[in-house]
Symmetry: C2
């Protein structure tokens, strides 16, 4: 079935220019530019027989009715919010790929028994609130109002304020929860964000499971002192405590095996000037894997090292757990559906886990869920150098299209 | 001779409220609040027979003529700019102590053969431009317009802009250079900013030499990648390179001995979010000592480790030398003058080096220079908890007064 690649390319390129900063792509969730991007996608649906709906947390649903519209929905989608200084494919690929599938059905007047829903999840990236996949977590009931009241962005604003700014009511977000029996299945198309497909020279990744993060903030309180007049043995240098913990996190991830990864995404020292021993330090820590035990071993190593370093350096160290998502295995039937579609379309494919978290992870708690990867050049992502060839983008959309239409059952 | 301690205390307390932020003391050089503080000090001189002059870099001179006014000046002073979230004694002690000495002479109608100059040096702290003792460096010819054109503050503004904002002309700053034969001597009174006097239960520190910093910025370029999808062995994590270098700097200072100290005052990672492997990192490094060889060994260790880490982690690391000040030994006659004054006034005293850099370091290249320390509680400085007992403040001012008046030769 036809895919209009020039339209897909044009929309993805246009989205990449909707940004908080000229010359880079920065579109944090709930920001004015995120709203502009949403409005742009909704505009593209005008004149087609598609129903537009936002839920109470800000997820966007673009629905095409089925001929038997009471049947469970065949859903697919991704997100369009971004990290700071992002690449243009992370999120928009699955969102605009899904939109293209709906537009083709409308233009070619093709109908399905099951209704179709393109879901553009809100706040998938953790860059706004140090909290990822917010929209799908609320939709699947994994997060709720009570659990989210502590979220704050870098400016100290809460989720409540962010929702108010776009006309939503924080007190109603629990109404965004959906029921399992509403969905027949969910499929997400995404770039790999790792180098495996490129290294293996495969076009399609059939995702078997999704690694999930443990996220925490480490607060280190030492003592600010004059950097010239304070002898080394009198110091309580919070930055050095943070440096040791960052290296601990790295080594523990290497030791853990099972493709476990761990990252200190930021280290902030205060007062942060040349001539003062840093009295305070904060670390953002993200630990991921599909092997729960291996992942936990990194967290345990961090906790043990906090004990050791706080004693050794005379520091007060607090570990604040932000989120613990469970890694999930995707169901065999969805893995088979995607493999078969790839094979029938003549694309090489590879079974693989996803190192990155995705909204599919939470949708998998509601309904049979599958995930399709296409190659990321050198594995680079969350970076302007993120790149996927357009022929691979097309391959991904075609596999998504085939799986979705088989599940939704084309009529006549 | 009398010192009006209630006036000294009142002025130091008043200065501590002139700040960029309510509830803390932050008075960066050349800022509006720094100007307000200067104007306040100048106002206190009104009605007395004192001459006020600013030089081309912004140093403030408060002069009392001598009966033989052509004789070389007996100078003393300190600074009133501060670090971020500072204590109230670092700088104001020697500045306001010196002012009190001048005010007493005016009020008691006492004259000296030599003219007296209280110098309030501009931009002593490196917190504005990562560059310390700017005013005294320009005054002594150690820095000049050409060497200072690269300076930038955290907002990216240059020294030229900062000077323009307060009505000075960057193109004229070399005219602030003074000649050695203009000065008979210089004496600076300052808090110790270390715990030695308190630990030794001494009131006065007679400074024998001043440690000086090597300062540099380390720029680390790695690769920003998705923190979930990038295996540990594919990463080029700039933050972890920075963490290793920070710990190297610490260990090298411990190994160097000779009271050498070294500090990474700040580590900045970019993009600095939870879900991206940091692609960039910057360190501010300050290495100090009075033993040049020991100090150099830390710098050498840093350079060697940069080689090792850049290869090991696949990082591009640049070391940018910001300043190298020479440690100095203060002349025996000034050490003896201060010791004798302390003894005659009945104060216990201790010979000691200064770990912190001071304007006295550069004045020592122009004329015989001495330095007087008073105790800092627990050695805390560059911190709101900085504390010196008022009786020790008085002791320091009295020793300064005695030395200055002996040098300036009270008439009749």
């Amino acid at each position: 079935m036809f895919i209009n690649m020039s339209r897909v390319q044009q929309i993805i390129d246009k989205l990449s220019t909707i940004s908080a900063e000229q010359g880079e792509l920065t579109r944090l969730a709930f920001s004015p530019e995120d709203q502009i991007a949403h409005n742009y996608v909704v505009e593209l649906c005008q004149g087609h027989n598609l129903q537009i709906r936002y839920d109470e947390i800000g997820n966007l649903f673009i629905r095409k009715s089925g001929t038997e519209d009471h049947l469970p929905v065949v859903a697919f989608g991704s997100h369009i919010d971004s990290v700071v200084n992002a690449g243009k494919f992370d999120g928009p690929l699955g969102s605009i790929g899904g939109l293209e599938i709906l537009l083709q059905l409308c233009e070619q007047n093709i109908h399905t028994r099951h209704p179709l829903e393109l879901i553009i999840f809100t706040c998938e990236e953790s860059s706004r609130f140090n909290y990822a996949t917010l929209g799908s977590k609320v939709m699947s009931g994994i997060a709720n109002q009570q659990k989210l009241s502590h979220l704050r962005d870098k400016q100290g604003n809460g989720l409540q304020q962010a929702l108010t700014n776009i006309g939503l009511d924080f007190n109603k977000i629990d109404q965004a929860k959906r029921q399992a029996n509403e969905f027949k299945c969910f499929v997400e198309l995404h770039i790999e964000q790792g180098p495996r497909l490129e290294n293996e020279q495969k076009t399609i990744g059939v995702v078997t499971g999704i690694a999930a993060p443990i996220r925490c903030i480490v607060n280190i309180q030492g003592q600010a002192d004059h950097s010239g007049a304070t002898a080394m043995h009198y110091r309580h240098d919070a930055l050095l405590g943070g440096a040791e913990l960052a290296l601990t996190v790295e080594q523990a991830a290497i030791d853990a095996g099972h493709s476990t990864v761990a990252t200190v995404g930021n280290l902030t020292a205060k007062p942060g000037v040349m001539n003062v021993v840093p009295g305070y330090c904060e670390l953002l820590v993200d630990i991921r894997g599909i092997h729960t035990g291996a992942r936990q071993s990194v967290f345990t190593a961090l906790k043990q090292q906090i004990e050791i370093i706080s004693k050794k350096r005379g520091l007060q160290i607090e570990l604040q757990l932000i989120s613990t998502d469970n890694p999930i295995l995707l169901p065999d039937n969805m893995i088979e559906n995607i493999s078969r579609a790839s094979q029938e379309l003549g694309y090489s494919f590879e079974m693989m886990p996803s190192g990155a978290g995705h909204d599919a992870m939470h949708m998998a708690t509601l309904c049979p869920t599958g995930m399709i990867f296409v190659p990321s050049h050198k594995g680079i992502s969350h970076n302007p150098l993120e790149f996927t060839e357009w022929k691979d983008v097309e391959a991904g959309i075609k596999v998504l299209q085939k799986v979705v239409l088989e599940q939704a059952e084309v009529v006549g």
